[in-house]
Amino acid sequence: MGWAIALHGGAGDIPVTLAEERRAPREATLGRCLSLGVAALKANQAPLDVVELVVRELENCPHFNAGKGSVLTTKGTVEMEACIMDGITKNCGAVSGVSTVVNPISLARVIMEKTPHIYLGFDGAEAFAREQGVEVAETSHFITQENVERLKQAKGANRVQIDYTQPISAVNGDSQIG
């Protein structure tokens, strides 16, 4: 049936009343990344390169929860994670707990290709990123005002939220429900 590509920018309680100024940039980015991936497949690039290329583009967009625009931990910090996997060889790379790596998906790929391991986390992953010359940035590069507000809302409602859960009034009960 030939080549195919699919991408996502997160699932959750995305209200159908989402304001146009929040919906339009996200849909435009999805369309742009889709075109990027299709062009790469038509140019006979390997699927592994195509998925890394598209996810890097999505990480660099502040409207999605990854890379720039990542949501914040309860401490107000950024802890990003990523994973990449090749189907035929089942080679894979994964990373967690990085706070300065601009494109975590590319670090995951370097872990897959240049270490005997699959998964590095936190300080070890940060050190390996620097050793390999993977691009890093100040934490402020990743934090958006919108996500500072979202953290305040989540704390106020004493909840953990997935990407687009809408704020609700304070609730009693387990703070770990989404």
Binding site: H8, G12, L18
Partner: protein, 132 residues
């Protein structure tokens, strides 16, 4: 969370997922994205990238289960992906997947999922909510 899955004309597959995790998560919390077989998986049959509430996706080993259901129950990609997403408690998961023969599936059990896809036979889609 963002993700991409792709297959070329020769049936080579790959999956990639990246995320900042959950708003207000505890420091040190690991979600589904980097857990191979939960949020991200690819083999010779399909490539899968999941999104939603990581704790539910890990428990359901969502990405690996799509491939396993295809392999052991002989379901198509669409049937397998829908079966797996329906197995996750409502409101917590979505995924995008492609198969070695170029099929695409993008099921979710949340209100919406930012998604896009294209196939060689000319079909393409960009969406957030149910189109029906």
């Amino acid at each position: 969370t963002v993700g991409c899955v792709a297959v070329d004309g020769a049936g080579n597959l790959a999956a990639a997922t990246s995320t900042g995790g959950l708003v207000n998560k505890m420091a040190g919390r690991i979600g589904d994205t980097p857990v191979v077989g939960a949020g991200t998986y690819a083999n010779h049959l399909c490539a899968v990238s999941a999104t939603g509430k990581g704790e539910f996706i890990i428990r359901a080993t969502v990405a690996r289960d799509v491939a396993a259901v295809m392999e052991y129950k002989g379901l198509s990609l669409k049937e397998a992906a829908t079966y797996v997403i329906d197995s996750v408690p409502k409101g917590n998961a979505g995924l995008v997947a492609v198969s070695a023969n170029g099929e695409v599936a993008m099921p979710y059990n949340t209100t919406g999922m930012f998604r896009a896809c294209a196939t060689e036979d000319g079909y393409s889609e960009v969406g957030i909510w149910d189109t029906e």
